[in-house]
């Protein structure tokens, strides 16, 4: 199977290691990965902050670049959510029926990494090895927008050496919310404080999630407070193997 990697601008620029892990993982599972170089940003930040006029050209670009592919995979629930759940609204706001049709055709072929693995490839054991105590934060858009269900947990449970600990009030938002964290910094900080407290309560070494944006927010506080707890993207856990660690 051949897929296009939608790396997302955020991962491309700030978390290249997540992209690299995604490529290694997919290839290890026999998936042929293509990276359309023309891709930039799906337009989520603009769209969700209210700059919808500005987002629409980015929507068009995305649709044009990724439409030729049978499947598109991204290591981000949030950006996949934008494409699957909000592109139809964008096309409607643009008043462009043709775009709406193209979106309708493309959207069901765009997958978040964990759902691609579990629902599309039908694997839960990806042969990973990660000897750490980990807790998992199900980010809001993965959970409620694109409804990945327990695919990430199923994948984590199959990772050898991994001690998965339950996060209390896991389903509550960490307070990131894109520009929300800047515009409503105080409220965001209050939400973050509780999330961090729950993470620390698990005594995990690392908090994992399927979205680096939330992880950057959570990790920023974990580092500022010198907790010693790391954040790690799900893709990096799944990509890691015994041979690699021993090497």
């Amino acid at each position: 199977m051949r897929v296009a990697l939608f790396i997302t601008c955020f991962n491309d620029t700030l978390f290249p290691e997540t992209g690299i892990a995604t490529v290694r993982l997919l290839e290890r599972l026999g998936v042929e990965v293509d990276f359309p170089r023309e891709q930039t940003c799906c337009g989520q930040m603009h769209f969700n902050t209210g700059y919808q006029r500005e987002a629409i050209p980015l929507v068009r670009r995305f649709v044009k670049i990724f439409s030729p592919y049978e499947a598109v995979v991204a290591p981000s629930g949030s950006c996949v959510g934008m494409v699957r759940e909000l592109y139809p609204m964008a096309a409607e706001l643009a008043g462009d029926n043709k775009l709406a049709e193209e979106v309708e055709a493309l959207a069901p072929r765009v997958f978040e990494l964990s759902e691609f693995l579990v629902k599309k490839l039908g694997v839960t054991d990806v042969g990973a090895y990660y000897p750490h105590r980990v807790t998992y934060h199900p980010t809001c858009h993965s959970l409620r927008m694109i409804k990945v269900g327990d695919a990430p947990l199923a994948l984590l449970r199959a990772v050898r050496g991994l001690d998965l600990v339950e996060l209390s009030q896991a389903e509550e938002c960490c307070g990131f919310g894109g520009t929300f964290a800047v515009k409503n910094a105080d409220t965001s900080a209050a939400m973050l404080a509780d999330k961090v407290r729950h993470i620390l309560d698990t005594r995990a070494e690392a908090c994992a999630a399927g979205d680096n944006s939330c992880l950057m927010h959570i990790g920023g506080a974990l580092r500022r407070q010198r907790t010693g707890v790391a954040t790690v993207h799900l893709a990096e856990i799944l990509a890691s193997t015994e041979e690699e660690i021993r090497r």
């Binding site: 620029t13 978390f15 170089r37 969700n48 902050t49 050209p57 965001s188 950057m216 500022r224």
Partner: protein
């Protein structure tokens, strides 16, 4: 004077008011406790319904049907109520509604009226209006009484005094109700209110209520409640005036089978609330012998004009979205500065009062778009989607209203324009990635960024920022895989 849902609390934006609430640890504790409790209970009450999703879908569809044909349903409602012996009044705005109520009360020489909790009349600020007209409106809902006695504003649709604890309420009752010996036990406090209000109920000539639903087909109006003050107000006085937003109409009697299952479980997490009254005009020898129904617009028809935003009118005021909202849980209702707080308020208020006002314009941004509200909404209002739509309207309004240079100078707008341009062309995008790596050096210290300038400083107040790595993903790909 135009009255609207948004209180003229100086018009401060949400983020400013939230700061105050966030620093109030008593409020945070009360809210945290209350929202957590009711969340769990709601989940249990909904969990025992195997057909919950089907009910939600029916509720949503019925509301959509009503909104798309609101004019017909209102005319039908008027006809049914009139046939049943009631009188229907139409009010374009708050002032008109208040005037109608006051003139009815004056017509019966009422100096005091009893009132059952109604957000519509909070919106029109009816009590203040009546006060000026020399008529005292007694709030009879326990929480509303507490709010009225303390001269505060409600902070929750369903539990307006959610921000007050028992000892604060005890002090208030000792001061305002002349209650002699009083403990801070809720039972004791409740009984004090019962005795005070019983007298008022027996004396009142005129009762005022809101409405949860009004049936176009039969003219039946209903009030869903717990305490019995709703029954008192709609049964004992000789004259009953009900003020309802025009969006509260439902098509048929049968439709209660949907809404009366959705509402109690979503709001108080009960299988059924203690009391619901359904009355159809005037019944001879039973209850009020004069019934007035005031149909209030006050901005609702503006909400109706937005095809996506109009779903905000589907709201049945259960408050489930408040209880699950992580923002509401921490800041409470006052920061929304509106009679409609929480996620639903964040989409309803700005639409009711119109875009272009500083305070209400900040409300669509009072959300992390986590989607918890949409998940629990009994009539499936896609609140996140409407929030995003309204953000778009706010931005467009700013861009179009701000003269060319002003919107260009607005730092957020300028940054967004620049980024949009960079994202539109992969060469510009790659160049800006390089620039970001080069440009961050004044900020990065020892591998982390601890302080950001200007508007971004809120981020770095509590979080470190990871600097931009040396190599982007696409650079790695190019190196590894060639072009």
């Amino acid at each position: 004077m135009k009255q609207d849902a948004f209180s003229p609390g100086g018009g401060a934006p949400f983020e400013v008011l939230a700061k105050e609430s966030l620093a109030n640890s008593q409020l945070r504790r009360n809210l945290g406790k209350a929202t957590t409790t009711i969340r769990q209970k709601r989940a249990a009450a909904v969990g025992e319904m195997p057909d919950w999703e089907e009910l939600r879908e029916a509720g949503r569809a019925l509301k959509e049907r009503v909104m798309r044909h609101l004019d017909e349903y209102l005319l039908q409602l008027e006809e049914s109520v009139t046939r049943a012996g009631g009188k229907v009044h139409w009010a374009r705005d708050a002032r008109e509604a208040n005037r109608i109520v006051a003139s009815i009360a004056r017509g019966h020489a009422a100096r005091e009226v009893v009132k059952v909790k109604s957000i519509a009349t909070d919106e029109t600020k009816l009590n203040e209006y009546l006060e000026r007209e020399g008529i005292r409106a007694i709030e009879t809902d326990l929480a509303e009484l507490i709010i009225q006695l303390s001269g505060e504003e409600s902070s929750h649709i369903l539990v307006p005094a959610i921000h007050k604890n028992r000892s604060e309420i005890r002090e208030l009752f000792l001061r305002e109700l002349d209650a002699g010996d009083l403990s801070d036990e809720p039972t004791d406090l409740t009984n004090t209110a019962r005795l005070y209000l019983r007298k008022k109920f027996l004396e009142a000539e005129v009762g005022i209520s809101g409405a949860n639903f009004a049936v176009a087909e039969t003219g039946t109006v209903s009030v869903v409640e717990s305490e019995g003050n709703g029954r008192m107000c709609t049964t004992l006085p000789r004259v009953l005036v009900t003020v309802m937003g025009i969006e509260k109409v439902i098509p048929a009697w049968q439709d209660f089978e949907v809404f009366m299952q959705l509402l109690p479980r979503s709001s108080t997490a009960e299988r059924m609330n203690p009391y619901t009254s359904f009355w159809t005009g005037v019944s001879e020898g039973d209850g009020p012998q004069e019934f007035h129904l005031v149909l209030l617009d006050n901005g609702r028809t503006d909400v109706l004009a937005d095809e996506r935003g109009r779903q905000a009118l589907n709201c049945i005021r259960c408050s489930a979205c408040l209880n699950v909202c992580p923002v509401y849980e921490r800041v409470g209702g006052h920061a929304y500065n509106s009679v409609y707080p929480g996620p639903i308020g964040a989409i309803l208020t700005p639409q009711l009062v119109g875009i272009g006002k500083k305070g209400p314009d900040s409300l669509p941004y009072a959300s992390s778009l986590c989607g918890a509200c949409y998940e629990v909404c009994p009539v499936k209002i896609n609140i996140p989607e409407v929030l995003i739509e309204l953000r778009g309207k706010v931005v467009r309004h700013k861009q179009d209203a701000g003269e060319g240079w002003r919107s260009r100078l607005d730092p957020e707008n300028a940054a967004m324009q620049l980024m949009a341009r960079n994202f539109s062309d992969v060469r510009l995008y790659e160049a800006s990635q390089k620039l970001a790596k080069a440009g961050q050096w004044p900020l990065a210290r020892g591998g982390v960024i601890q302080r950001l300038p200007g508007r971004l400083s809120g981020w770095s107040a509590v979080r470190d920022l990871k600097p931009v790595p040396r190599q982007t993903f696409r650079e790695w790909w190019k190196k590894e895989r060639g072009s």
